[in-house]
Amino acid sequence: MIDMRRTMSVFVLLVVMILLFSSLMSNSSDFELERTEQQLPDVTITNLTFSQSEPKEGENITIFVTLRNNESFPITDLTIRLVNLRLEQNISEKQVSIDENDEKTIDFNWTAQGGSNSISALLIPEVVDLEEPIDSMSKEIWVEPEPIGDVYSPLFALIFIFIVIFGSVIIPSIFAFLTNRDPSQEKD
């Protein structure tokens, strides 16, 4: 009987502890969320455009990133980072400040790289321990690559290979003729 009571008490204690821990955890996560939301400014990227829609490889083009501050106070410590997702390269980054309820366009220079490029603008506030951007926008742009090589060289290379390979069939006969040997002697 005593054992039964002891078991019940331990069980109840365990349940109470679990409930308390869960409640504490939920409170603390609410607190964290609240704190983060308070610190993150309400700034968004509203547009990402290119100075040319069909650039060629090597051309310098300008990328425009438009930001909007929805807060009622100015924000001074924002970083805009431009990334080429295809090559996983940082293009550039700029520190910007923006007035309250205002919109601002920042321009970046980029030397276009051939092929399909995915350009992404990341908005990173100077908040302690925040690694993720608060907003981002990506756009695909096709850059006409600088032509490499020409069509005739591989064609001539192919013809040359065929000539040598097919020509090698007759080389033993010519060699035998030049050395005045009876070709029939070399057959085996």
């Binding site: 490889e57 090559l87 996983e88 790289q113 051939g114 092929g115 399909s116 695909e140 096709w142 690559p145 600088e146 032509p147 490499i148 090589g149 020409d150 069509v151 060289s153 591989p154 064609l155 290379a157 192919l158 040359f160 290979i161 040598v164 390979i165 097919f166 090698s168 069939v169 007759i170 080389i171 033993p172 006969s173 010519i174 035998a176 003729f177 009876d182 070709p183 029939s184 070399e186 057959k187 085996d188």
Partner: protein, 271 residues
Amino acid sequence: MKSIMEDISEDVKNTCLTVSFELKKHFRMKRMIISFALAIGLPLIFYIVPRIWASFPDTAEEFANLNLSFVNLLIIISGSLFAGDSVVGEFEEKTGLLLFSTPQRHSTIFIGKYIGALLPTLAVVSIYYLTTSLEIIGIYGTGGISIEFFKSFFIALVYTTSAVSLIFFFSSILKRKITSTLLGFFSLMMILPITSSVLQFLVDVEPWYILTYFEGLITDVFVGAGPIGGGPEGQPGQFSPDFYTGLIVMVLYTLILFSVGVFMANRRRME
């Protein structure tokens, strides 16, 4: 004593005979059907799947780049299939006892075998490109077929000749069909690409003398020759293959390995 013209015509006839025999052998062993089916089936995936579940790329170049990035794999598979056992098979299965006793110059047998392996591989690549071109015309119209497409096609054919030469060379020097086929396949698939990557990313040396370093030229013509990826964490390296160097290397690989292969096969004797 025969005249030189008679001798040449006989050699040409004998080579043609070997080529036709090799082609019949590939056909009889269903190698041709398998590789032709792959050459039609693989590019069709790039057409059917986006048609049903997604959308096609914006430009014909992007589509061709995506589609033809797998042609290397087909070249390696069909090259190993057709050239892997071309010479070594005669020695391993002792069929050479019958073949080499015929009054035919041995070099014409081996050159015929090489051509007999090369022609179906070139045909497979051509069918792949034909299927892709029909898809491009179907999606983007005839304007989608650019000069870059033909450039890529010719580079793929030159690369095919060098890949077949490499596998033919292994077939000439090794003793077992399976070893020759696997070594040819894995050389082009893994050994050479890994060596190339190690040289590029760890030693900082441009591996311009490695054949597979230039395989990317097949699709680079569509998107430009950028640095090759595949370094630590997939980052691009500092080297990019040069078009003309690539062509010269491919031609040299083809001719040197073909010549050495024929020479070594000529010197081999039945055990």
